[in-house]
Subunit: 163 residues, 2 copies
DNA sequence: GAAAATTTGCAACATTATAACATATGCAAA
DNA sequence: TTTGCATATGTTATAATGTTGCAAATTTTC
């Protein structure tokens, strides 16, 4: 009965990909950074779905492409994309997902479904400020905040029998 | 000028270790779980300091002990300790730290100093409820929440020149 | 004390990530 | 235009982290 967010309902995912690539091109131009073919291809692959993808998964697809790539190629592309805020690494899964708030200077909070693997990235100001206060109370100066919530997405809750 | 938490000031760390081991014995007894010598030794090693320790670091010390251990020994002990809430895994570091709230049924928030590596575990109800609300707003059912804050602890801020 | 369950030992293997160095490419001045 | 520089990529090897599967040993239960 709720207005489900994108990954949780059928949608024209090609539009997601196109938008992500267009945003990336704009952001890189603005930053004077070079979105080379390899980097763009890796970003496109990461955006294949809203499920995070491992570096070696990306590598495998590149191989299918006929691209003769080794791990450093992928990790370097992913580093670049992360640095420009185009993808995020999900620490609890050792994998990568496209950023849905590119260019917004945000700290993501990730809702990760343990069933279907889809990830929803949120910006949650209330969470950010609560974390900030908790850190302040200990005189700790935060620089990088990782918030990953594993659980069941609305769709998978329904599938599992609504208990 | 603030009342620094434990890891950030000199303290009798042997007391930390003793308390952790005593708590562990009590909790395991209560849970009908067996804190075998290997498990207890691994817990003790994890508690060597307030800095997280990698599984292979633990393994190396076991080897020095003369204990003929392989990776599964360590990972199994760590799994056991995690299941009983005696240690936590820090996803962003692939390493493990002793739980300072054992037996309290908590979701930890970890403040991780990038300089000295010390970790302070907090229970931050305000953060927990903010996360819970953010998830609810998306109809997501959280099961496991990871919150890791990297930054500078008060001590290392001071050392770095108080800017 | 025998049967069942749990724990450990052990070997091999799988996955994720980085180091080091060579080559190539784009870009800007001379 | 070519020289030089910074950036990006290719390539090989290796490091670091984590798992599977099965056999032996230990502990618990009956
Ligand atoms: Zn989509
Ligand atoms: Zn993002
Ligand atoms: Zn201590
Ligand atoms: Zn804890």
């Amino acid at each position: 009965m709720s207005a489900n967010a994108l990954p949780y309902r059928p949608h024209n995912h090609d539009a997601c990909v196109s938008r992500a690539l267009a945003d990336a091109r704009a952001i890189c131009q603005q930053n004077n950074a070079r979105l080379t073919p390899t980097r763009e291809r890796v970003l496109e692959l990461i955006w294949q779905s809203h499920k995070p993808l491992g570096a070696y998964d990306v590598l495998a697809v590149l191989a299918e492409d006929g691209h003769n790539a080794a791990p450093p190629t992928v990790y370097r592309a992913l580093d670049f994309l992360q640095q420009h805020g185009l993808v995020h690494r999900i620490a609890s899964l050792n994998s990568f997902v496209g950023c849905t708030h590119a260019g917004e200077n945000h700290n993501g909070l990730f809702l990760i479904c343990r069933q279907c693997s889809n990830v929803l990235e949120l910006t949650a100001p209330a969470v950010a400020s609560a974390v900030s206060e908790a850190a302040s109370a200990e005189a700790f100066r935060p620089e990088d905040v990782t918030i990953e919530v594993a659980g069941l997405c609305p769709r998978c809750q329904a599938d599992a029998g609504n208990d």
